[in-house]
């Protein structure tokens, strides 16, 4: 089987994208007759060498563009890939990846699935699984038409180092001539002030529904800072506008995998839980002994989260300077 991974080197999350792809390839595409390569889009010349080092396959097509605009990328991909015998295109889990997977499949008359956890290729069809029903159920699907275009499930990157290869085969393309699609009259990127640091955090404190107002959110953030944890929130809190959206944890936010994750005042809806299920150790603190989160945590405390956390700060201070 021939597969290609597609990376967006214009985005600051490129390392995560590459990590996801690398991990997915080593988990799913190890049989001897698979041949893989990467197509990497980028715009900044000076980043070229750094980007190449992230490539998880032995050969890469480097495509230089002016801006990662979906309509342009689709045009570039369909042009480049015309007549190629690629069976499978792999896209990272981000917004761009899922969009490209679906639209490329449509244009190339193939089939697509987004947020895929696992695949298996039988020679005539691709079997792929992903979560459905708001993270309650695992669905298995058959993709019948080639090429198969899939985007990976969020949070599938691990810390596995990418082999830097000596003999990387690099082919370069210049597509800076592709113009903005006409429907865009003007555009302005607003980069995230601070890159989302939740995906790779080791120690995470999350506030949920139990937070009654912005002050509670600020209180919890302060506790997180004191104990050296990163701070996240569940969807209802983010939707109340009490913190910036990038702190949101769950299927529509960050998928984390902390060594220790403390969840204060959240009931634990499945879509939220998806964002912390890869944690090594989960602590739930809330006042509802019947909340679903208690069962899906390693330990749970039924009590006022403020009283518990205040004391936790104290005892950590006593134990070691923080």
């Amino acid at each position: 089987m021939i597969y290609k991974g597609i990376l967006n080197g214009c985005s600051t999350d490129i390392a995560t994208q590459a990590g996801e792809l690398n991990n997915f390839i080593s988990d799913n595409l190890h049989s001897e007759d698979t041949v893989g390569s990467t197509i990497l889009f980028y715009s900044e010349k000076e980043q070229r060498d750094a980007l190449i080092r992230l490539v998880p396959t032995e050969s890469v097509k480097l495509v230089r563009i002016t801006r990662y605009q979906p309509e342009n990328i689709l045009k570039a991909l369909t042009t480049m890939e015309q007549g190629e015998m690629t069976h499978l295109y792999l896209f990272p889990s981000g917004f761009a990846g899922s969009e490209m997977a679906v639209r490329l499949a449509f244009r190339m008359k193939g089939s697509s699935l987004v947020q895929v956890k696992q695949i298996e290729y039988s020679g005539v069809q691709l079997i792929a699984s992903k979560t459905v029903y708001a993270n309650h159920v695992l669905g298995t699907f058959k993709l019948t038409k080639k090429p198969y275009c899939v985007s990976l499930a969020k949070g599938s990157a691990n810390d596995q180092a990418i082999n830097t290869r000596d003999k990387l085969i690099v082919t370069e393309y210049d597509m800076t001539h592709l113009h903005e699609n006409q429907f865009i009259k003007a555009s302005k990127a607003i980069p995230r002030k601070q890159a989302s640091n939740l995906t790779n955090t080791r120690f995470l404190l999350i506030g949920g529904n139990g937070m009654k107002n912005k002050a509670d959110t600020q209180y919890l953030k302060q506790i997180a800072d004191t104990i050296g944890a990163d701070f996240g929130v569940s969807r209802p809190v983010a939707m109340s506008g009490w913190t910036s959206l990038h702190r949101q944890v769950g299927v529509s936010g960050s998928m984390t995998k902390a060594a220790v994750c403390i969840v204060a005042g959240a009931s634990g809806a499945a879509a939220f839980y998806a964002g912390i299920e890869k944690s090594k150790f989960i602590v739930a603190i809330n006042t509802d002994s019947r909340a679903p989160i208690n069962k899906t945590s390693d330990v749970a405390i039924i009590d006022d989260y403020k009283a518990v956390l205040d004391e936790l700060v104290k005892v950590m201070r006593e134990d070691r300077p923080i």
Partner: protein, 481 residues
């Protein structure tokens, strides 16, 4: 000279220990209100007098000491446990009140399955007690929507009722005996016997006193055998509330005792049942108990309903599942808060009761008047959820968009204006203005009309047991200005 705040707090430190007295400003604010003023509270607006402190008592002795101190120094005491009241009963109407919180007295003291009774402290959670009982094949039979939050002391103090009341009765039918502390600091115990004819039933001085006469510290309730496997669920849609009331009446007067007998009008019904009852009333029954009784009850109810052509049966599973998802829990309440803040769409309720002969008239006139007189309503409906041999209750449910008014004006503009219509029409027709939430502090205006000439007895109770006016002033009986 009334005591200063500092003096009150000092005295409480001495009685209950510093660790059990809370004077944190935010806690005091939250303790000055209950769910009645939740819209204001969500906005951080607290307009009532601030309490001096919240005391978390550990035992009856401390309760007695606190109340005795308050009585001697004329300090208002607001008793509470689960803090889920909805009618302002937990509002601190006077400056520097003591909020006496019994939620820490939460032990289940005894479950006696031979004599079929359970004894608990006032702060015992009803959910926990009932879960414990159900594990052993028993139940309290008490299941109000507030079950996950409410505690036994508060439930008894407000004359609570649960969803299965048509079989098990209200809390007044369950309470066997009690322990309570009266304003002079005296601890009284009423013993646990099946019945007695030894003068008036003094339990009723305590049950429903809403903290205005005494503080309840211990409760013994009956327990029942629990046979969920025999439960039979019945559901129907129908055109008219009048027909529904007739069916409820027929079921009751013929002596059948379903645990649940509920009738929803189309508006209230749509809120719960839009997936199977579009623009129709909904009638629900649950028959429970030992199998022969549950089966016979269900069959008889089906026969009665079958005689009314407009009733259409629905899949019983819809009813069974609906019950499984009915109660409040902390997550619901938090979600409700976010939604209210966003949409400014608030829900409130008023519950009344009346005899069969007038219930439908009250329903119709209230619906019409509220709809015509109150602005910005987004839902106005009602249901009957507790039926008796001689009548039933009506639970009016209303949602409105808060338009052009400050958070603290919301109640006057909407909730209280609606309550006024419902209460006045009910009393005029001969019903009772309070079915199961208690009087609280916002129906006191009509308490004399509610009682008529028997108001004498109520007033006498208050002056006899609380001569210094320290127990939850402004509740049941209005504050004298």
């Amino acid at each position: 000279m009334p005591l200063k705040r500092k003096q009150i707090v000092e005295a409480l430190y001495n009685i209950a220990g510093k660790d059990h007295v809370v004077t944190d400003e935010q806690i005091l604010k939250e303790s000055s209100v209950d769910r009645f003023r939740r819209f204001e509270a969500y906005h951080g607006v607290y307009s009532l007098p601030m309490p001096a402190a919240v005391v978390y008592v550990k035992n009856t002795h401390d309760v007695a000491a606190v109340i005795k101190f308050a009585n001697e120094n004329r300090v208002n005491v607001v008793p509470r446990t689960g803090h889920s009241a909805t009618e302002g009963g937990l509002e601190t109407a006077l400056e520097n009140s003591i909020v006496l919180d019994g939620s820490g007295m939460n032990q289940i003291l005894a479950i006696d399955t031979y004599n079929m009774q359970a004894t608990v402290q006032c702060g015992a959670s009803l959910q926990e007690l009932d879960d414990r009982l159900r594990e052993q094949g028993y139940t309290t039979g008490h299941s109000p929507q507030s079950k996950p939050l409410a505690q036994l002391g508060g439930l008894v103090a407000t004359r609570s009722i649960g969803q299965f009341s048509t079989l098990y009765g209200g809390i007044e039918d369950m309470v066997v005996g009690l322990e309570a502390v009266f304003p002079d600091g005296g601890i009284t115990r009423i013993k646990n016997v099946p019945r007695r004819a030894a003068g008036p039933d003094i339990r009723h001085v305590i049950i429903g006193n809403e903290g205005t006469l005494c503080f309840i510290t211990e409760i013994t309730v009956k327990i029942y055998k629990y046979f969920p496997e025999n439960n039979q669920f019945l559901g129907y849609t129908l055109d008219n509330m009048k027909t529904g009331f007739e069916i409820l009446r027929e079921v009751m007067v013929n002596g059948y005792r379903p645990s649940v007998a509920r009738l929803y009008d189309p508006e209230d019904g749509a809120y719960h049942f839009s997936h199977f009852a579009e623009d129709r009333c909904v009638l629900i029954f649950v028959a429970e108990g030992v199998k022969p009784i549950a089966d016979a009850t269900a069959t008889a109810i089906e026969d009665i309903v079958d005689r009314h052509d407009e009733c259409v049966k629905v899949d019983p599973k819809l009813i069974e599942k609906w019950f499984a998802h009915l109660n409040w829990d902390p997550a619901n309440l938090a979600a409700e808060k976010v939604e209210i803040m966003e949409t400014k769409n608030v829900c409130n309720t008023t519950e009344i009761s009346a005899n069969w002969g007038i219930i439908n008239d009250i329903y119709e006139v209230c619906m019409q008047r509220v709809r015509n007189e109150i602005p910005d309503l987004t839902l106005l409906g009602g249901h009957s959820s507790h039926s008796y041999l001689n009548g039933t209750n009506l639970y009016f449910v209303y949602f409105y968009n808060v338009v052009d008014c400050k958070p603290e004006e919301e109640l006057t503009k909407y909730h209280l204006a609606i309550k006024k219509i419902i209460v006045e029409e009910t009393i005029k027709a001969g019903g009772s203005m309070c079915h199961h939430h208690g009087v609280g502090k916002h129906r006191t205006h009509w308490i004399q009309k509610e009682y008529g000439s028997s108001y004498y007895i109520l007033k006498k109770l208050k002056s006899a047991f609380d001569p210094n006016n320290i127990m939850n002033m402004g509740t049941i009986i209005p504050l004298e200005k």
